[in-house]
């Protein structure tokens, strides 16, 4: 997510609308308009959260979640980029692998969790595997599309400059498809978070997803809301990390533009 940052006016507007929502939330709770069982005030949520942090419970949950999502993402993205490139480069690989991927892409990955638990047990393996699967598909599909979309003239230019086949794959096809690969990684990051939370709600005794579901079972609404806030921060963090990495690797892509229609 890359909000247009250049304009301080816009920045202020964004910050104030966020502050407005948070303030309204706090006031609604304080004035007793909504029962604290349904929507406790922001301050109570933060207070409960601080306790969770102090006791070290949060750190434990966060560590398990981060471990799972990191490995799942790395494995899924790594295999996805590799296979996507292979399919984009080799017709033979594409003909043999693409139908398989097209046929399995529509399966909601969470439906595979019971099967994965059966195969890999209740431990970390099944949760990491389901995240890896979820990340793999958008990444492999985007990478392949990115390679197939490379301007053939760039390949000709590289050939005329003396490139070998391997040189073209590494020095033309990979960098040319990086924007598409990143689009896939961003989609994958969203899917990863979704699968992480779901898997932890279904089969875990640790993790932010577990924190949220167990708080809900005990009607601890403050804790539940705090868990959701942590997840929101996790999502923001992963977006920011990917955007920073993209900026560093793709300085040649002109910056993301704001909305086309300016309203001033």
């Amino acid at each position: 997510m890359n909000p247009p940052t250049a304009d301080p006016k816009r920045k202020a507007l964004g910050a104030s609308s966020l502050a407005g929502v948070l303030l309204a939330w706090e006031l609604l709770g304080q004035m007793g308009v909504i029962s604290p069982l349904f929507l406790p005030p922001l301050s109570a949520v933060i207070g409960d959260g601080l306790e969770l942090i102090k006791s070290g419970d949060l750190l434990g949950h966060l560590a398990s979640s981060l471990w799972r999502i990191l490995w799942g993402f790395l494995i899924g993205a790594g295999v996805g980029v590799f296979l996507g490139l292979t399919m984009g480069i080799s017709r033979l690989a594409d003909a043999s692998i693409h139908p398989l991927i097209a046929a399995t892409y529509p399966i909601p990955k969470i439906a595979l969790l019971p099967l994965l638990i059966l195969w890999l047990g209740l431990g970390e393996g099944s949760k990491i595997a389901v995240i890896a699967l979820g990340v793999f598909f958008p990444v492999v599909v985007n990478t392949r599309a990115g390679v197939l979309d490379v301007d053939p003239l760039l390949v000709k230019a590289a050939l005329a400059l003396g490139s070998s086949r391997a040189g073209i794959a590494w020095k033309v096809l990979l960098p040319a498809s990086l924007p598409m690969i990143f689009a896939g990684l961003k989609l994958g990051a969203g899917v990863a978070l979704l699968l992480l939370v779901t898997a932890e709600m279904i089969a875990a005794d640790k993790g932010i997803g577990f924190l949220v579901i167990s708080a809900a079972n005990l009607m601890q609404t403050t804790r539940l809301l705090f868990g959701i806030m942590v997840l929101a921060l996790l999502g923001l963090l992963s977006n920011w990390l990917l955007a920073t990495l993209e900026k560093a690797l793709l300085p040649w892509k002109s910056e993301t533009q704001g909305p086309k229609l300016q309203t001033r």
Partner: protein, 259 residues
């Protein structure tokens, strides 16, 4: 290095309405350090000819020979495409560096050569810019510098100036003559602009519409270095007129069939 193009035929078999004959028996010789321009109507197979010489497209029959060539690793021919085909993820210096990397030159030597090339093509100070940050004329220079980097004996150019405005275009024509006159490279230069072809060339080849054949060859005996003054010479204007006449016949619509 002399380049001989012998009886080149090209038929594209996968045309939408059956096979397309792009070239029919093209013979052409490019002397050592000679500037050869090719003019012809659009779609006459000029680009195909260049691609074949560059080794990027296979001829149906006939051959291209590079004579007197010592066994060298560098490519015999460099090419500048009409659409330039710069690598957008590489800076100006990075684009120029590409062929040198593929040659396996050490970094220090690459740097030195890049510096010289950028100086020659007027790109100093733009080393670290990306192609999308440059104007059309500057991009053109990058494409030329990139193709020249590996020091090919023959530089192929496919309408490289066709997307520029008239003024930049004339400037680039002067630049090209200067680059040609200061080196020992041969040029094979395709254009549809007759006066550009005459201004640059030692030898001018006129091609027919599809299937492309050589209609005629003109020897261009204009003084070098070529300056703007050359455009006002009587011999320049006569040549332009002569080539125009030849092409005009080619452009005539086919006669109506008599009843």
């Amino acid at each position: 290095m002399k380049t001989k193009i012998e009886d080149l035929h090209k038929i594209y078999s996968n045309g939408r309405s059956g096979p397309v004959e792009a070239l029919r028996g093209v013979n052409l010789e490019i002397g050592s350090s000679e500037f050869v321009s090719i003019v012809g109507p659009s779609g006459c197979g000029k680009s195909t000819l260049l691609m074949i010489v560059a080794g990027l497209v296979e001829a149906t029959s006939g051959r291209v020979i590079f004579l007197n060539e010592r066994q060298e690793r560098r490519p015999s021919a460099g090419i500048v495409f009409q659409e330039l085909a710069l690598f957008p993820w590489r800076t100006v210096a990075g684009n120029v560096s590409y062929g040198l990397e593929e040659l396996g030159l050490p970094k220090k030597e690459r740097k030195e050569r890049i510096r010289k090339l950028l100086q020659m093509t007027g790109l100093e100070g733009f080393e670290d810019s990306y192609p999308h940050q440059l104007s059309g004329g500057m991009k053109q220079r990058v494409a030329i510098a990139r193709a020249m980097a590996t020091e090919p004996r023959l530089l192929l150019m496919d309408e490289p100036l066709s997307s520029l405005d008239a003024i930049t275009r004339q400037q680039m024509q002067m630049e090209l003559s200067r680059i040609y006159e200061s080196g020992s490279m041969s040029f094979l230069y395709v254009t549809h602009d007759i006066s550009e072809a005459v201004f640059l060339a030692d030898k001018l080849v006129v091609m027919s519409k599809r299937p492309g054949r050589v209609l005629g060859t003109f020897s261009v005996e204009l003084p070098r270095p070529r300056t703007q003054e050359v455009r006002k010479l009587k011999s320049f204007l006569e040549l332009v007129a002569g080539v125009t006449d030849l092409l005009e016949k080619e452009w005539e619509p086919p006669p109506l069939e008599s009843p």
